[in-house]
Assembly symmetry: C2
Homo-oligomer: 335 residues x 2
């Protein structure tokens, strides 16, 4: 094919698969781009890489404020690299648009891990809604997998529905908690405990060890009130200290047991197929809704109807049917 431009999707895809870091970063920037003119190349790139993606364990990680997610990810990442793996760390942080940069953009975090050639850390795409962050994180995940990363850690800062989004794009969901906070002070978001496949009480070191053990027991008790997500997996509650490096190997072992159990039961593969199908249909719905939202001719009408619906003076179905009819058949008159 002769000499190619740097932004040539085929060339970029080749270099991503060859493990070229600059190409990997550029590839993710391309798929995250919202510029219309980038879409054909971004789509082509994803087309080329998708068949080479998927060969990783996708782990979602969330935690209560102060649970030490980043130091845990650094500790786990280093341990996993020591086991011969390559680790990609992605973030789902819709709030990063507010702080003007992702939590992972903070240079003081994961310094050591970030410097290792076997690791790749990517901040959350800034200035996007959760939907946008989710979409682009899913795609960054595919690109990283195509680049040979066999462990993908997706961190959520737990803003809004981001845990659910992360749980729906990963194979396993890990919840980090603090010692001694067996109460509302932990601010565990509603529904999160139920999504966890592994619960870790971090900061189990020094004076906190006893409290950490008590908390773990508390959470084991609370878990008994909830229906297990899989009949093939009982959610472990373990303690660890990212600071001292204790319990990290045990956490990685639990992840391995989870992967083995749900691979054997077929739930891992089934879960991914379901996630992919759901993703396709939600992408289609989002595409369609975006086209309607961006349609100049529709905007005034939509705003007026939305206000009437919120005020309760219009029925959503009627309003929706009318708006969609006008959008799809701009020519035709009403029934």
């Amino acid at each position: 094919m002769g000499a190619r431009r740097e932004s040539d999707p085929q060339d970029l895809a080749d270099r991503v698969q060859a493990g070229d870091r600059r190409a990997l970063a550029r590839a993710i920037t391309l798929v995250e781009s919202s510029r219309r003119e980038d879409q054909p190349a971004a789509n082509r790139l994803l087309e080329l890489l998708a068949p080479h993606a998927g060969r990783s364990i996708r782990i979602g990680i969330t935690g209560v404020p102060g649970a030490g997610k980043s130091s845990f990810i650094e500790a786990l990442g280093n341990h996993v690299i020591g086991q011969g793996h390559q680790v990609a760390v992605l973030a789902v942080d819709p709030s990063s648009s507010i702080s003007g940069g992702s939590i992972l953009g903070d240079k003081t975090r994961m310094e050591n891990l970030g410097r290792r050639p076997e690791a790749f850390i990517r901040p959350s795409p800034a200035g996007r809604t959760l939907g946008g962050v989710t979409r682009h994180t899913r795609e960054a995940m595919l690109v990283c997998e195509a680049a040979g990363f066999d462990v993908v850690l997706v961190e959520t800062v737990g803003v809004g529905q981001s845990e659910t989004a992360v749980a729906e794009m990963t194979d396993m969901f890990v919840l980090l908690l603090l010692p001694g906070g067996g109460d509302e002070l932990q601010g565990i978001k509603r529904g999160i405990m139920e999504r966890a496949d592994l619960i870790l009480v971090n900061k189990c070191d020094g004076a906190m060890q006893a409290a950490a053990a008590r908390s773990a027991a508390d959470y084991r008790h609370a878990l008994r009130l909830l229906q297990p997500r899989s009949t093939h997996w009982q959610v472990p509650v373990q303690t660890c200290s990212a600071h001292e490096g204790t319990g990290i190997a045990a956490a990685w072992e639990a992840i391995g047991r989870f992967r083995a159990a749900l691979t054997a039961s077929g739930e891992l593969a089934a879960g991914r197929a379901t996630q992919a199908r759901a993703w396709l249909w939600s992408e289609m719905a989002e595409n369609l809704i975006d086209s309607l939202r961006e349609n100049r001719a529709m905007q005034e009408r939509v705003a007026a109807i939305e206000a009437a619906v919120a005020a309760g003076s219009a029925a959503p179905r009627v309003a929706a049917a009318e708006l969609v009819r006008i959008f799809l058949n701009p020519g035709k008159a009403g029934p």
Copy 2:
């Protein structure tokens, strides 16, 4: 306007608002109809009734298997009628298509309540997906409100995501539990405890009273692990016996306190406006997706691409963009 046909929307709307039961039942059947030729009349009817809807407290009720939801609803309904209210009972039961009729269709249930003029019981629309059931239950709710029912009880049998759907169409979510089941035997679905605004341990009678008190304490303890949904409301855990009629008045009082607290804080009105807007956009997305799904020219293509995506050989975004592009611009060629 002269003499009108029975199915004339204006006439039907007038009679619904006048409290005519046969008209109410016919109106709901009309809005639930999936026959294309019924849509204009159904839409017109909703247009006429929507402005008169909304003046009720919308209460979602779920419970673990055997918690006695229907006897509780019968007891609560009769108590509430005694307080001078009119009660509509609707069901969200996607499984009713399987059993061939809704749980509420079962004549042996809520017999006494069903016979009272101040009550209206409507089974779940059969043979529909959760989305369809949800949509039609929301609309049946509007019709009942326009007919003057000021208390709407929406029952879910807890199939799939139906609790979430019910929580998202109601002002308050009530969870019924059993005594002595402070463990996985209760089979509480993941995320449900977190959605509850009021938890009732039913069947607190006879030999079960002590166990019911213990369970209530257990659940209070478990709730302490979860972040409250509103800073203006602490979720009460109460016991009751639909069988003996104890704790029913107290449950209704808790509902009244909840309504007062969240009305004062503005959360009730804000929640409804948010629900309505979300409903509008989801109706638009559903309408658009349905139009794409039902598009003959698209079907083969969609099936092939969906399989590729599930197999991981195609990237959802690329596939979705292509399908939507072809759908919206059947004429134009690809980029």
